[in-house]
Every structure is written in structure tokens, then in C-alpha cells.
Amino acid sequence: MATEYTFPDSGAKTAAAAPGSEKMTISMGPSHPSTHGVLRLQLELDGEVVTAADPVVGYLHRGDEKIAENMTYNQFVPYTDRLDYLAPLANNVAYAIAVERLAQLEVPPRCQAIRVLIAELARISSHLMGLGAFGIDVGAWTVFLYTFTEREKLYKLFEELTGARFTTSYTRIGGLARDVPDGWPGRVGEFCDQFLPRLEETLALLTRNRIFLDRTAGIGVISREDAIAYGLTGPNLRASGVPLDLRKDRPYCGYEQYEFDVPVGTKGDCYDRYLCRGEEMRQSVRIIRQVLKNFPGGDWFARDARRIFAPPKDKILTSMEELIQNFMLVTEGPQLPPGEVYFEAENPKGALGFYVVSKGGGVPWRLKIRSPSFCNLSILPKVCVGAMLADIVSLLGSLDFVMGECDR
């Protein structure tokens, strides 16, 4: 026998009981094409106008923070791939820097340059996916095909660099899994050369597209004050007119050496968020070209970090001392001092923060992941109210969230 299903706190019944008015509560998601994963929105509708929205998250909760407390720092790197799984390289970099801050370890210039390079490639890859999916959400199928063609080329580069297309696990505490392959920087340069005209072609499909403008301009407006009060970060914050970019304001990884602009919106609507992402890709190409122009030589891992980073493979196979060192590193993890640090990196989706609390040794006592998608989604109950049901689709597409990161 079916029991009646009621939504708590929706107010739908009270509204329906009032004379002359009738409201309807619908569940959008958890498997709805425009919720990009498993987000569920409980929407209360008056006709086609949304009067209340309650996002239900947690369908993809895996307990990453609990898992982190039960393994060594290096063992957690693959789990960071699965946070924002559209930009795993950027997550790898953010996590490695956070733990290195705890160890007070500086990585050499070549390692920093490679990290900037992969973080920016990940940004392009993530924005391409976000743009393509946004296009589909508002009925522009072609954009998706264009962006996925370009993203595929990036994935070829990622595969060559890391051995994996998707779950890259490329960084280690104190360095990287390996140096870049021969000729790889050149191929990144070639990608950039052919990517820029393709990007302009792709953006031209949307930027002055009448249907796209009708679906996005003036829709889902987030004011500057709201964006700050709800802790929005990344392109979603900048589209609301706040020129905050941690790469500029809190430079890490040597970002201060590179010249780039931070695009800022004026209205904070879905269209501004689209424009910001488009411009960020151009700026990423600019950064990548500067990195490639002065690509530093030398070590790609911190050579002095004896109890943190594994010694070179040939040394492990030939020298007793290095073999013991590697064995200790694998079994007990990189040995870090006690203390606590909080590090945020400017990821494609926003500021990805790691709060690491260590009691010393190879395992974190507590690892809190501050995920940008989680914070960006928390504004939904505010912006959905008063919007038309069809506008929610534009809004979700323009916020560009990833549930793997939101739910952790």
C-alpha cells in the first residue's frame, strides 16, 4: 500500500488550503538532465513562478574527509581527482600545495611551472565542459559538440602526461608523479595555437545568439552583496562584479610572474557568468603561453625533502639508503610536523580550500575540504525565488557546479 509522500517545510499544503490560491511542489532531480549530476531541487510553484526552493544535496556523499583521516597524505591524492572530476589536475595541485604549506616545503620553479600549466589546462577543460553543458541546457546542442572536440584534445595531452585521461593523480607531496614527457610542452603550445580560433568560433555561436540572450540575459541575477554574503567564489562571484581572483590576490605557485586579466561582470546574470568563463579561457591560454616561453629547467621535485618525497627510481634500485627511505615513505607516509594550515586555490569552479590539521606523522588528524560547488549552490534558495521554472535550468547551467565536489 502506498503511503502519502509529504515534503517537509514546503508550505505547499497551507498555500493550497488558502482560498483562491493553489501551489504545487515538484521535485526537480535528483536525475534531471539539467541538474548535472544528482542534485535535487524541491520547488514550490505558483503557476510557473517559483515561490520557494530547497536544494537537497548529499546523494554523492562518499565521506572523503573520513577516508582522508585513515590514510597517508600521498594516498589521498587519487581521492582529490574525484572532487571536481572535471578538473582533477587543479584539485591535485591545490591539495599538494596545502600539505606542502604544512610541511613548509618550497617546490622548485620547474615543478611550479608544470603545476601552473596543468591547472590552467584543467581550467580550460572544465570551462569547455561547463559551456557545452550550459548550451545543451538552453537548447544549443552544437556548442557541446565543438567544446567536446577541444576537450578531447586536452584529454590526449593529459593522458600523455599522467597516463590517465580523467583521474590523473599527478601531484605528490613535494613534487609530481613524473616530469613532463619529451616534446609535451611543444604539443601544449600547438594546442593553444589551434584552440584560440576554435574558441572564438564556439563563443560566436552563443554570444550574440538571440535565443541564448533571451534565455540568459537578466536571468538569475546575483547582486554583489549577495554573492559575498553567501560566500560565492570563482567565475560566479566575479560575474557579480567582485574582482576577486586568488591567483592575483593571494598568488601561489608563482602566479605573480604571469600577466593576465581577471574578467569581471557588471550585472551578475547568467549571461555575465557565461562571458566570464569565455574570457577566462582566453586568459588561461595567455598564462600557458607565458609558462611555455620561460619553461624552467632543473628539478621537478623538492630534492631536499628526504622524508616527504620519494627518491629517484634509479637510486631506489641501486642504493640501500634510498630504498629504506622509499619504503618508509610508502608504509608510513610523508612525515609532516604537527600544526594546522588552510589553503585555498583558485580552481575552475571557485576557491577550493583544504584545512589540514596534523598531529605529526603521515596521516592527517582532520582534513576539511571547502568545496566551491557546495558554497555556490547554497545561494539557490535565494535566487530561485521569483524565477520562472524554465529559468532554473539556465541558472543551474550558469552556476557550473559539480556534485562530486559538493557532496564529497
Binding site: 502506498a2 503511503t3 517537509p8 517545510d9 544535496v57 548529499g58 556523499h61 565521506g63 574527509e65 573520513k66 577516508i67 585513515n70 590514510m71 597517508t72 594516498q75 604549506r101 604544512l102 613548509q104 559575498i228 554574503a229 553567501y230 560566500g231 567582485v242 576577486l244 590576490d249 593571494r250 608504509t331 608510513e332 600544526g339 594546522e340 594550515v341 588552510y342 589553503f343 585555498e344 576557491a351 580550500g353 584545512y355 590539521v357 596521516v363 588528524w365 582532520r366 576539511k368 571547502r370 557546495f374 558554497c375 549552490l377 547554497s378 535565494k382 557532496d407 564529497r408
Partner: protein
């Protein structure tokens, strides 16, 4: 700790607030009843206008104080962070005041900290679980909650009655930090468990 402007401001206004050991940003241990006042001062007078994160630390069973709530603030003008920590006096019913009146961003962060640690944020308008389902009986990030999980009833009572199924603890084994002491390799490593011969049974000839 170096005397940063924020430290000077805090010391002047709140003499009971002590510095907290930190590897990077200025950090302070705040008495729980002064948290809101300190947060408001930092927001209105020191320019820390963004609430970046609220979380908690569990020091483990038997430690006092057991639970510590942690706030991270960011300044969009000064581009620095500050960390506040407040110990919960009662380990059985941990509670700190809610910052939802200062930042709406606190809403979801506090729900998450409640969901994971069971810390009650007094004054929160809607303190429900956010990542786990409503009615889940445990607080998973507490140190006494096992990594593999605990058996619980299904969230849907109707399905549970029909199928008699339960949420099972996951066999999360493998690695030196996960395997219980005294286990053999075929118990600790899931892959080893699949093989037809183990440390106990000889390889068939």
C-alpha cells in the same frame, strides 16, 4: 605569534581571546559565548567580509574539550584569512552560537558541521542534516565512528519493511591504516579475498 593588526584589534577588544598555534594565518581561541561578537567585529571593523568555511575538529573520545568548532574568514580587500576556534564545553551535547545572522553562507556550513559532528548551532533557523539523510542516527566524522560505517535502517521505511534490507557497513579494508591488527593479508586486502588460494588454504595443484 607576530602582532598583526587583526591580533592587536582582537587583543584590545576581547582580552579573553588567546592566540592559537597556526602554520599560516592569524588564529585565535575564542570562548564560545564571545564567538559572535568577535565575528561581528572582524566583519565590520577589520574587513573580513567573507565567511569562507565553518567546520569542527574532534579531539577523540575522552579528550577535553572534545569538539572544537573552527571558522575561517577572508577579506576581499586585504586578501588575508583569519581563523577562529571555539571549544565546546559539553562533549555530550556540543553547542556553539550560529553565525547565520551575520552571513547567510553560515547556513549550509553549520548544517554540515551538525551533520558530521553533531554540534548544535544555537539560533540556526533550520538545523537539518545536509549530506546524510534525515533520520540518520550517527555523526560520521566523530572519531568513534568506524571508517567502514555502521549498520542502519534504510531511509525509506516502506522499502525497508518490504525488503528487510539494511544499510550495511562497507568492507573498507586494505592498507596499514585500515586493516585491524592481527588480520591476515587475505582478510585485509579485498583483492586477495577473491583468490581461490590464500595464506590459510594451499594453492590447488
Amino acid at each position: 605569534m607576530t602582532a598583526t593588526p587583526v591580533a592587536a584589534l582582537i587583543q584590545e577588544r576581547f582580552p579573553q581571546v588567546a592566540g592559537r598555534p597556526s602554520g599560516d594565518w592569524p588564529a585565535f581561541n575564542v570562548p564560545a559565548d564571545q564567538v559572535l561578537a568577535v565575528l561581528r567585529t572582524l566583519r565590520d571593523e577589520a574587513g573580513f567580509d567573507v565567511l569562507t568555511d565553518i567546520t569542527a575538529i574532534d579531539a577523540g573520545l575522552g579528550h577535553s574539550p572534545r569538539f572544537t568548532a573552527v571558522w575561517h574568514l577572508f577579506s576581499t580587500t586585504g586578501h588575508t584569512y583569519v581563523r577562529l576556534a571555539a571549544a565546546c564545553a559539553d562533549a555530550a551535547r556540543p553547542a556553539v552560537p550560529s553565525a547565520t545572522g551575520l552571513w547567510p553562507a553560515a547556513n549550509w556550513h553549520e548544517r554540515e558541521a551538525y551533520d558530521m559532528f553533531g554540534i548544535a548551532f544555537a539560533g540556526h533557523p533550520d538545523l537539518r542534516r545536509i549530506l546524510m539523510w534525515d533520520g540518520y542516527p550517527y555523526f560520521p566524522l566523530r572519531k568513534d565512528f568506524p571508517l567502514a560505517g555502521l549498520e542502519t535502517v534504510l531511509p525509506d521505511a516502506e522499502v525497508a519493511a518490504e525488503t528487510a534490507a539494511k544499510v550495511q557497513a562497507a568492507p573498507l579494508m586494505g592498507g596499514p591504516f585500515v586493516a585491524p591488527p592481527g588480520t591476515t593479508m587475505d582478510e585485509a586486502e579485498p583483492r586477495a579475498g577473491d583468490q581461490s588460494w590464500t595464506e590459510r588454504e594451499e594453492k590447488p595443484r
